[in-house]
């Protein structure tokens, strides 16, 4: 099982997920968040928190998003941990509306 953040997070980075992560496994860059697969315990607490449904787990990962498994592992390894909720990126609300949420 793997839990991953996918492209809907790009340009939003609401970080609601971070507040409920029991093991602080989210990492961040200027665009979005990534999950460290070695720390994540697949509890799925973050999935319903995401306002743009960017997070998927295991069997639920759509085929066209499977490449995000590798991206999450690679990016998480080189980025700082996001321990607390941050302000969403500028334009996040507009992007959320664009995505239909």
């Amino acid at each position: 099982m793997t839990t991953i953040v996918t492209d809907n997070c790009k340009g939003c980075r609401f970080t609601d997920c971070v507040t409920v992560c029991p093991v602080a496994c989210f990492h961040y860059d200027d665009d979005m968040l990534y999950i460290d697969p070695d720390t994540c315990i697949d509890c799925s607490a973050c999935i319903p928190e995401c306002p743009v449904q960017a997070i998927f787990e295991g069997d639920d990962i759509p085929e066209d998003k499977e490449h995000w498994i590798e991206i999450n592992a690679e990016r998480a390894a080189e980025l700082p941990v996001c321990e607390e909720q941050m302000d969403p990126l500028p334009g996040a609300e507009e992007r959320k509306a664009e995505l239909g949420f």
């Binding site: 099982m1 029991p22 093991v23 602080a24 315990i41 449904q53 639920d60 949420f101």
Partner: protein, 459 residues
Amino acid sequence: MSRPGTEDNPLLVAIVGSGPSGFYAAEALLKSDINVKVDILERLPSPYGLVRTGVAPDHQKLKQAIKLYEKIASEDGFNLIANVNVGVDVTIEQLKASHHAIIITCGAETDRKLNIPGEDLPGSYTATEFVGWYNGHPDYRDREFDLSGDTAVIIGQGNVAADVARILSKTVDELKNTDIAQHALDVLAESRIREIHVIGRRGPAQAKFTPKELREFGELADCAPVVATEDLHLNAESERELEEKTNIGNKKVYDLFSEFAHSPVDDDKSRRCLFRFLMGPVELVGDGHLEKIILEKNSLSGEPFRQSARGTGETLEIEAGILFRSIGYRGVPIVGVPFHDDWGTIPNEAGRVTEDGKVVPQLYTAGWIKRGPSGIIGTNRACSVETVGCLLDDLDKLDSTESKGGAEQLYAILADKQVRPVSYQDWQKIDAAEIANGEKIDKPREKFTRRSEMLELLD
């Protein structure tokens, strides 16, 4: 005295309960920029609350949350005082005297009742007892569950109900390499239960399982999930609920039920787990022991997302010798702490304990005892962070004229009462012994299930 939180006058906080909420509260305090000392009190000799004794043994990955708690425990300012029953060995008044603030994070330790005739018949149990028993909780070590009948009934459709159903559905081979308590594995090995009914008072669109927990029922070695196709029929309100984009979790759960209903039942499997909807028990019947459950069929009424179940008067029966109820949890009151009896929680505003609407100085709360039994492990992190935020905003009010002795003051009280406190270093010894005992039999650990076994290791 001065406002606590300085080098000379560190903020002394006692946390009651060492489950996730307690550890997340400790984490938030130790991360703050003030000088703080945290003492976590725990009733058992072992820490980690429901992560150790609630999370199912076949969900080992979830239990890895403990790695983070170990990291928190290694920080300066952290101290564990386990094997101490607050309200009995130490009173809340004594904690108020020894510490500037107290955070109650003792969880929801008991089950809600069905309040129907026959509920106390032998054979009718709470999910809490069964979960505690297979997880090696010392309080439930000596419970006996008669699994000699062929049918078991579980009332409730949340993740605890799913855990109980799954443990009953699994073969010994599927469980033997987990940290399930050996006494439970031995009894489960002799289980003759072949039919497990998991009963919800509302419909398949309102079940509280997470998709992940439900999906596991399609992957069992010797048990097939069963859903009747006619049960998939939804009223207009439920259809609207599932169409709502944000309700994706319930939609996935419904789709899984649909998948179960439409796949042929695998005849090679000897057990069945039946998910049944829109019914609730009205009476448990038996002569000295549970024999059958009388249920009333329900219908839904109300707006989408606010639909409630009402009895239709039509009844049906299931013959079963064992029943587990898992319809919600309540906290247990602590002497000296206000308690909301209807809700089973401590009344509070964002974590500040209140009584008759007024904030009670020094007392705070977090986790299930604060907000009720909802959410999973991580949900408690945000909850504890909120409470600690309030506590840190109150530093001026926590200033006291008397000097506070912190842990040392408590150790003196415990010595008088001949209570042997278990420190984190003590726990590490117990932990290492459990892991070593597990290694011999290909388990991640074999838990000690009696307090005395744990304490004997220490002196």
